[in-house]
């Protein structure tokens, strides 16, 4: 996500960096590159114009020319301006003082509203809220069925009345039920509609007036092009939306259009949907995203994810074991499961600092199947074997292999690599930094997450 944009900016800025001093011609060259990169990222033409104008002014200002490292300073300015462009600080939903918080979801056809509704429901449910969904898309064939299915997966109640009633009535009825049943939040799914379809936009206005939502969210596909701004302006007029949910950000779309929406309508991006699974849905942090664009990593998000998943006591236990060199395959299995709970590993890689620039990891995909196999192998071991891998002899290896459906080589590799890892841990525990060559060797050995370049 945003990788190519980050590459382009970094490339341009590294040239500026290496020069030490900035001339106006340098700044112009950098601006041309930035302009091109932003246009390729689908940032709106007009937004690009004003953005580069602001940048240029600041870059030519005394603060840069007088600074010791102008290149570094330009990076800082681009970072700040990108953050500002995406909405400055992150904003959360507005919650009701009493009664259900009503959230109305709107957008074009195919932007991902129904899925976003379920993801938002799960997101709110995870913080202990009792969430209901209202199925008001009575037009698209089987849309109600889809909401019922994904809503159930998200652990939300789905209020539906089929497709024969007026969506405004359904929304109003659902709100009454949510009040009666004391739900904390009601998310209203609406049909996808074209911003130029007056009749459908009028219906959206009626739903908004009837349900008086605390927040109206516009769902925008990260892959949208230049037209996004016009769409958002029309929706802003009719639906008076409060914020944006950016979907399909897990592809390689650079999301420039969604980013332009803030610049043009002033409405911030609240959430970003980053994967197929229901959990792949996070609050959007403009400052972190800007850092990510510039390849400075999104360590904060990574730490937050880890905090959500890692049990602190377990972590302390593990630390103790590592220090005493008592790590077992059982611990290894627990660790692997915890890391995997944070989501697909390929998604985590993008959050690491410097990884944006690591070309060899670009498009790399961690083969989750390989990890499944490791799990299966460990699960086929007896508790004794897991605690003391040294006892795993030839016949045990054969048994483990047939029990896990793996080959004997795979078992061999796992045992061998685990042993290497333990040695390494011992070195680290004794305060020695591991030999980089040894690390590389370890990484080269299998079993390991298979990296595939596409």
């Amino acid at each position: 996500m945003f990788d190519q944009l980050s590459d382009r900016l970094q490339e341009t800025l590294s040239e500026v960096r290496s020069r030490g001093k900035l001339s106006e011609a340098d700044v112009d060259a950098a601006m041309r590159e930035i302009r091109l990169a932003l246009l390729e990222a689908d940032v709106n033409f007009k937004v690009v114009k004003s953005f580069t104008a602001t940048l240029k002014e600041r870059c030519l200002g005394s603060e840069v020319l007088g600074s010791l490292d102008p290149g570094q300073h330009v990076v800082k300015i681009v970072n700040e301006e990108l953050t500002a462009l995406m909405g400055g600080v992150s904003r959360d939903l507005t919650f009701a003082q009493s009664g259900p918080t009503v959230i109305l979801m709107a957008g074009l056809q195919g932007s991902g509203k129904t899925t976003a509704c379920a993801k938002l429901a799960r997101h709110l449910g995870a913080s202990g809220k009792d969430v209901a969904l209202a199925a008001c898309d009575v037009y698209r064939p089987a849309a109600v069925d889809q909401l019922v299915t994904v809503g159930e997966q998200a652990g939300a109640h789905v209020y539906e009345q089929g497709t024969d009633r007026d969506p405004v009535e359904i929304a109003s009825w659902a709100l009454d039920r949510a009040r009666e049943e004391g739900r904390d939040a009601l998310i209203v799914d609406t049909a996808g509609r074209l911003h130029v379809d007056e009749e459908m936009m009028a219906e959206l206005v009626r739903i908004r007036k009837r349900t008086k939502p605390h927040d109206v969210l516009l769902v925008v596909d990260a892959m949208t092009g230049q037209d996004a701004v016009g769409v958002a302006e029309s929706f802003a007029e009719a639906a008076e939306f409060d914020g944006v949910v950016m979907t399909k950000l897990d592809g390689d779309a650079r999301g420039g259009a969604a980013l332009s929406i803030k610049a043009v309508t002033g409405k911030p991006i609240l959430f970003a949907s980053t994967g197929e699974k229901l959990e792949a849905f996070d609050r959007f942090h403009p400052d972190r995203m800007a850092s990510r664009i510039l390849g400075m990593g999104d360590v904060l998000s990574l730490i937050e994810k880890a905090e959500q998943q890692v049990d602190e006591r377990q972590a302390l236990d593990l630390e103790e074991k590592l220090r005493r060199d008592q790590l077992t395959l059982e611990d290894f299995l627990q660790q692997m499961r915890q890391v995997r709970k944070m989501g697909p590993l390929s998604g985590l890689i993008g959050m690491l600092p410097g990884m944006g620039a690591a070309k060899q990891l670009k498009g790399a995909e961690v083969d989750e199947g390989e990890l499944d196999r490791i799990e299966a192998i460990i699960l086929s071991m007896t508790p004794g074997e897991r605690a003391n891998p040294g006892m795993i002899n030839g016949s045990r290896r054969k048994r483990i292999a047939s029990g896990s459906g793996a080959k004997v080589q795979h078992v061999n590799q796992l045992v061998k690599q685990f042993d290497q890892m333990r040695k390494l841990m011992r070195q680290m525990a004794s305060g020695k930094m591991p030999d980089p060559q040894q690390l590389a060797q370890m990484a080269a050995g299998t079993p390991r997450p298979k990296m595939r370049r596409r």
């Binding site: 091109l36 195919g110 698209r140 089987a142 019922v148 892959m223 092009g225 037209d227």
Partner: protein, 330 residues
């Protein structure tokens, strides 16, 4: 004249039935719709010529053209190529430096770029197998419903739909509704079932029933999901094994609102399943769908159909000249 369905379909030795007499009324409706929408685009054209890009042919005119093409999502490389070519032709005196002449030449160039690699949709197979692929939410299932309706109701062909989107909740139900409207047979499986098996069964059924066309719907997937792209390639292989030479036509649906990412979509899908053409959907909004110009220009994959609305008749053969005109209208 807009491109007609007959021009964009290669039915082989198969003979399309004459439309049933009771459909005449309906057909007139279709043509009236076409005429209406055409006159709309003609009006737009007239308005646009009056507010022409080329009132004066100077540096600003080229910049305005650049801006118009970028705003239509044609992308930087394609925009640069088109502007450069036109500017060169004007400077070399190949086109008279007259606003209207330059404008007409521009339309020609754009239509030419949009026509790269153009050819009919191959439905000559027995049965013909059409595979539909694309990113989530681009309108695959709706497009299939409309194609099935045209083939069945207007051309009298028998159609089998394969609900190989076993992933998205209620996708098969959505296709089932379309199958009913189009009077087509539907082959489906359980949620989470093997998409290759659904395609296999559908072709099997089509052969047994002597059906003319099988249309395979697949789950929407982001082109960056390697494992899902592998799965798609597998569906294609299964089809090819079942019926050598199939799928005879593979179409990717691209949402007209898509920006530069559309180029990646077309490239990656084409690498996986050899895409023959694009269906440009949702052209009824304000988006111009200029990304297909970039797709044709850079990848040589032509647009074959356009979707302009929700109703059944709102799927049409792509017309390069009409498209080129609409691209520049306000």
């Amino acid at each position: 004249m807009p491109t007609a369905w007959e021009e964009i379909l290669d039915l082989g030795t198969r003979r399309a039935a004459a439309p049933p007499p009771q459909a005449e009324e309906e057909r007139r409706g279709v043509f009236r719709r076409l005429r209406e929408s055409l006159s709309k685009s003609r009006r737009a054209l007239a308005e646009e010529i009056s507010a022409s890009l080329f009132d004066r042919i100077d540096e600003q005119a080229w910049e305005r053209l650049e801006e118009a093409l970028i705003l239509a999502d044609a992308g930087v490389p394609t925009t640069a190529a088109v502007v450069e070519r036109l500017e060169h032709e004007v400077e070399a005196g190949m086109v008279s430096a007259d606003g209207e002449a330059v404008h007409e030449r521009l339309i020609e160039i754009l239509a030419e770029v949009a026509s790269t690699g153009r050819g009919p949709i191959d439905l000559s197979g027995e049965p013909a197998v059409l595979l539909m692929v694309g990113v989530n939410g681009t309108g695959k299932t709706t497009t299939i419903g409309k194609i099935a309706w045209h083939l069945s109701k207007e051309l009298g062909l028998s159609v089998v739909l394969a609900a190989a989107d076993t992933y998205r909740a209620a996708a098969a139900e959505q296709l089932a509704e379309w199958a009913e409207r189009a009077d087509a047979d539907l082959i489906r499986s359980v949620p989470g079932g093997d998409p290759g098996a659904v395609a296999f069964d559908a072709i099997e059924a089509a052969r047994a029933r002597g059906a003319d066309v099988v249309i395979v719907d697949t789950a929407g997937r982001l082109h960056t999901q390697g494992n899902l792209m592998d799965e798609l390639a597998k569906v294609r292989r299964v089809i090819g094994k079942q019926l050598p030479g199939a799928p005879h036509e593979t179409l990717i649906s691209i949402d007209a609102t898509t920006g530069q990412n559309g180029l990646r979509q077309a490239k990656v899908f084409s690498d996986a399943v050899e895409v023959d053409g694009v269906v440009l959907t949702k052209l009824d909004g304000t988006a111009k769908g200029g990304i297909v110009l970039a797709i044709a220009n850079e990848l040589g994959i032509p647009v074959k159909l356009i979707g302009t609305g929700e109703s059944l008749e709102d799927l049409r053969p792509f017309d390069p000249a009409d498209f080129a005109r609409a691209l520049l209208s306000e």
